[in-house]
C-alpha cells in the first residue's frame, strides 16, 4: 500500500506534481501528453482502444463527479462501446493491475475513494 518512492513530479523537465500514489495533485494539469506520460509510468502504451476508455472515464467523471469503480466502469463501457468491449477482461487487458485505479490515474481523475 505504501508507495513513498513514487516521484513527486511527472518527469524531470515538467513541474507537474504527483501525489505519492502517482495521481495528479492539480487535476487541471491533465492533457493528452500528460496522459501519455502517466501511461508510460504504468508501462502502458496508449492505443486508440485505450483512448476510448480514457475518454469514457473522463465523461463519467464530468457527469457523476466520481471516478467509477470496476463494476460501473464495465457498465459504462458496455453502454457506449458495446457488449464486446464492455467486459472486465477486456478492460483488465488494456489496463493491467487495479484497472479502475489505473484508468482514473491516466485519465487525470482523483483516486476512486470507494475502491477498497
Amino acid at each position: 500500500m505504501n508507495n513513498t518512492d513514487t516521484p513527486r513530479y511527472l518527469s524531470t523537465e515538467s513541474n507537474i506534481e504527483l501525489d505519492p500514489e502517482g495521481y495528479l495533485v492539480d487535476l487541471s494539469d491533465w492533457s493528452e501528453t500528460v496522459a501519455g506520460q502517466l501511461a508510460d509510468d504504468e508501462g502502458i502504451e496508449l492505443t486508440p482502444e485505450h483512448w476510448e476508455i480514457i475518454n469514457l472515464v473522463r465523461s463519467f467523471y464530468a457527469r457523476y463527479e466520481m471516478a467509477p469503480a470496476m463494476r460501473p466502469l464495465v457498465k459504462a463501457t458496455q453502454r457506449s462501446l458495446g457488449e464486446e468491449k464492455g467486459r472486465s477482461i477486456y478492460l483488465m487487458r488494456l489496463f493491467p493491475g487495479s484497472t479502475a485505479k489505473v484508468v482514473a490515474r491516466i485519465a487525470g481523475l482523483p483516486k476512486p475513494t470507494n475502491c477498497l
Binding site: P20, N114, C115, L116
Partner: protein
C-alpha cells in the same frame, strides 16, 4: 456468538462511544467473541492519539486500546472518513507530506469494504451512533 460493532459517534461529543464500550465489555463477559470494531463517520475521532481529556475522565482511545490488548479485538477505521476529518496514520502523513499524525496501532486505517466483511463474518452487528 461473533459480534461486530459499528461506532459512528465522536467521543466527548456524543454518548455512542461510551455505550459501545460498555456493550463491548458486556458481550465479552457473556462469553461471546468480539470480531471487530469499525469506526465510521464521526466515530473516526475515537482513534485520535492526540485526545487529551482531563486526568479524571476516561480516555476513550486508551479504553479501546485496552480492549484490543486484552481481547485481541481489531480496531478498524474507515480511511476515507478519517482522512476527511484529519485523523491520519504515520504512513498517510508521509504520503501527503504532513509533519504530524494522530492514528497509531492498534487502530488501523482500512476501506469501507472491511465493514462489509465484518458484517458478513458476524452473526450480530450492533451500531452505536448519535
Amino acid at each position: 456468538m461473533d459480534y461486530g460493532l459499528l461506532v459512528m459517534g465522536a467521543p466527548y461529543s456524543q454518548p455512542a462511544p461510551h455505550s459501545a464500550l460498555r456493550f463491548a465489555h458486556a458481550i465479552l463477559a457473556r462469553g461471546h467473541q468480539l470480531a471487530g470494531v469499525f469506526f465510521y463517520h464521526d466515530g473516526v475521532h475515537n482513534a485520535s492519539s492526540l485526545m487529551t481529556p482531563p486526568q479524571d475522565e476516561l480516555n476513550i482511545r486508551e479504553a479501546w486500546k485496552a480492549l484490543h490488548e486484552q481481547h485481541g479485538v481489531p480496531l478498524d477505521v474507515c480511511i476515507a472518513a478519517a482522512l476527511r476529518r484529519g485523523v491520519v496514520s504515520e504512513s498517510e502523513a508521509a504520503r501527503h507530506g504532513y509533519t504530524a499524525f494522530n492514528l497509531e496501532a492498534p487502530f488501523e486505517l482500512t476501506g469501507l469494504g472491511q465493514l462489509l466483511t465484518l458484517q458478513q463474518r458476524c452473526q450480530r452487528l450492533i451500531t452505536f451512533a448519535n
